[in-house]
């Protein structure tokens, strides 16, 4: 599967540093934004959480306000405390801060990775700047297509079997 073998871009795309995560386990997901919109600083990061990724908790960044948008779960589940969980985070928004162009920023969250080894999870991201925006939302239309051939590919994480 080409996504596994795709070489990492040289600091030009938004990427997930971990690259892969163990199936059925909690994992940190570090979204790294490597530049602004041209020279314009980044003011807002919106990350869409893909289906199957649950129990999301975002990292607190002092200079940024964090908003969590929820969606209903198709299959509610019971957590460790016995509580029924009926909804999950659908989108995380970091806003209010300022990430100048020429610097990278890491926006981290923790989530339960679905137990689907081999799957590629696409974390579509919208980067809003003072002047313009970049939508890292393109996903390959064919399994053999290298995502980095796309102009603005979505950051991705591949699910690997747990040890």
């Amino acid at each position: 599967m080409l996504v596994v073998a795709a070489p990492r871009p040289a600091l030009s795309h938004a990427v997930i540093d971990e690259g892969s995560a163990a199936a059925g386990r909690f994992s940190f997901v570090s979204l790294r934004v490597t530049h602004g919109c041209g020279k314009s600083p980044t003011r807002e990061i919106r990350v869409k959480i893909p289906e199957g990724v649950t129990r999301v908790s975002a990292e607190y960044l002092p200079d940024w306000d964090i908003e969590k948008k929820m969606r209903k779960l198709e299959e509610p589940y019971q957590d460790e405390a016995g509580q029924m969980v009926t909804e999950t985070i659908d989108e995380i928004v970091w806003r209010g801060g300022s990430l100048p162009d020429g610097y990278y920023g890491v926006f981290q969250f923790r989530a339960m990775i679905p137990d689907t080894p081999g799957e590629v999870l696409w974390f579509k991201t919208i980067q809003n700047c003072d002047d313009g925006a970049i939508r890292w939302i393109e996903v390959p239309s064919r399994p053999d297509q290298n995502p980095y051939e796309l102009k603005e590919p979505a950051p991705f994480l591949r699910v690997v079997a747990s040890q």
Binding site: R46, K48, I126, R135, I137, E138, V139, S141, R142
Partner: protein, 532 residues
């Protein structure tokens, strides 16, 4: 090598080339396909058939599945008169399929198209992105071919033009001696440019950027090959017989060069053929004479006195009024009338726009000619050195404009005029057209206005509900212009649809890519080809 042996060789080659059986001339056009475009078949077809209006050479023929994957299901491609048949060696399962092909017509024009069909009663006949025809060449190759063609034409016009000039005008001996050398040099470079044009043309016509002999043979066996061979004979004759002592052979060489231009291209593929060929021959001869005259006059400025140049310029002016002002213009206007369906096409078709640009250049040249004839020649004849210097500068500028007009002419020659009503293709439906997005979650409805001047796009979900996109991006790949990613003007009429002007010239392939932002995070892409 003795002159009489050279003459014998040339005569023999002439006879061979001009009497050898030739293929039917003309632009090949696809008339019908089996299965037809967008057909929904109950069972797998046993073959794919392409029916043209004339015999073609097949460069590539591919069958792909709905995902764009190449399928190795074809046997040996057969050509039966005007039909291309690809027998299928395996049954096609239910699903969508695409056929992409590139063929070479007898006049060395390449036709590349693709169409889709479905197998299985449950298919709805609509398609997603049509896989592009395999890339034919690197981006530089058409430019290389165009430059080679331009240089070839320049050498041809110079070679023939010098001979015609010497025949029509009485020139001083010093200029005459220079002319003999110039004819030989131009003819020599003409052979080199001809070879480069042949090779570059082979790259353009055959799929793939890798070297292949297939393209060379394909070009050589077409009417273009006959034309190039005739031109080569003309160049050889002028290399061996450039001087006034062999005037008849030089004239024959020039005649072969002119004749080579009417053996292929538009004069040889449209009606009335003989009239167009005669007009083209006249037009090219007059243009060659004009080009040669400018070069000879510039040369004369360096070796003759100002008053002698004035006499020569005056003689050219008198003949030029007839040769250029009347003959070239009249021939050009009549050809334009026969090629262009209506005056409006001069501004609405690619061919017409190029012709208009050429006309603009010719008008500028006439302005130069009038200025020289009515305001400069008399002063030159009086020996005014200052006028002589200005005349030299003006000649250089006029020559530059003429070279540009010749460049535009070479592009015009390779651009199909607006197709006539008698030639129709049934490859794709006129309108409406429905395309499924790459993800398969949305449909794009493409509508063409009755006069094909407007294109309207509307997106629906799989339930048929109209979607209101946040953003539209429409680009077109105009293959004939070798340009990609042209953003077309969009006039959004409604929230859910976008309508824009169809600027694709008739007879041109255009592949559209539409990006639709249906939600903040969902970008759907569609691809479709606009039917001719």
């Amino acid at each position: 090598m003795p002159a009489h042996s050279v003459r014998l060789c040339l005569l023999s080659l002439c006879a061979f080339i001009l009497t050898a059986p030739q293929e039917v001339r003309g632009h090949a056009q696809l008339l019908e396909t089996v299965p037809a475009a967008n057909d929904v078949l109950v069972d797998s077809p046993s073959e794919i058939k392409l029916i043209f209006n004339e015999s073609v050479s097949v460069l590539s023929l591919q069958v792909r599945d709905g995902g764009g994957n190449f399928l190795d299901v074809g046997g040996d491609i057969g050509v039966e008169e005007n039909d291309v048949v690809l027998p299928l060696t395996a049954e096609l399962r239910d699903g969508q399929y695409f056929v992409a092909f590139r063929v070479l017509s007898a006049d060395a024009h390449t036709i590349s198209e693709s169409f889709g069909f479905s197998v299985g009663a449950g298919q709805n006949g609509s398609f997603g992105a049509i896989p592009p025809v395999e890339p034919a060449y690197e981006r530089w190759t058409p430019w290389g071919s165009g430059i080679a063609r331009w240089l070839f034409m320049l050498a041809l016009l110079c070679s023939a033009g010098f001979v015609v000039f010497r025949q029509l005008l009485s020139v001083p001996a010093i200029v005459d001696d220079w002319l003999a050398g110039a004819i030989r040099r131009a003819a020599s470079w003409g052979l080199v440019a001809l070879a480069a044009y042949w090779v570059a043309g082979a790259f353009v016509m055959v799929a793939g950027s890798a070297w292949s002999l297939e393209g060379l043979f394909a070009v050589a066996s077409s009417t273009m090959g006959v034309s190039l061979a005739t031109a080569a004979l003309g160049f050889i004759a002028l290399i061996f017989f450039p001087g006034r002592a062999h005037k008849r052979w030089a004239l024959a060489g020039a005649a072969l060069l002119i004749f080579s231009r009417v053996l292929t291209g538009h004069p040889a593929s449209r009606e009335p053929e003989l009239v167009l060929q005669l007009l083209m021959a006249t037009h090219v001869t007059a243009a060659a004479f004009w080009l040669a005259a400018l070069i000879v006059l510039l040369r004369a400025m360096r070796c003759l006195s100002v008053d002698a140049v004035g006499v020569l310029a005056g003689d050219f002016g008198r003949i030029g009024v007839v040769a250029v002002g009347i003959v070239l213009t009249a021939a050009g206007i009549v050809m334009a009338y026969l090629h262009v369906a209506a005056p409006a096409a001069l501004l609405t078709t690619q061919y017409g726009l190029l012709l208009s640009a050429k006309l603009g250049g010719v008008i500028a040249l006439f302005a130069f000619a009038a200025h020289h004839k009515f305001r400069v020649t008399a002063a030159l004849t009086d020996g005014d050195a200052a006028v002589g210097r200005r005349f030299q500068a003006s000649l250089r500028l006029e020559l530059l404009v003429l070279l540009t007009v010749i460049g535009v002419s070479t592009v015009v020659a390779s651009t199909p005029p607006e197709s006539t009503a008698t030639a129709q293709t049934s490859v794709a439906p006129i309108a409406p057209l429905t395309v499924v997005s790459e993800t398969g979650n949305y449909r794009l409805n493409v509508e063409l206005s009755a006069d094909a001047s407007l294109i309207r796009l509307l997106v629906t979900d799989l339930n048929g509900q109209t979607v209101e996109p946040l953003e539209w991006t429409v680009t077109a790949d105009l293959q004939s212009l070798m340009m990609e990613g042209i953003a077309l003007p969009a006039a959004q009429e409604e929230h859910s649809a976008v309508t824009f002007e169809n600027r694709v010239p008739s007879g041109t392939n255009a592949r559209y890519t539409v990006g639709v932002l249906v939600t903040d995070f969902d970008l759907e892409r569609f691809e479709f080809e606009l039917p001719r």
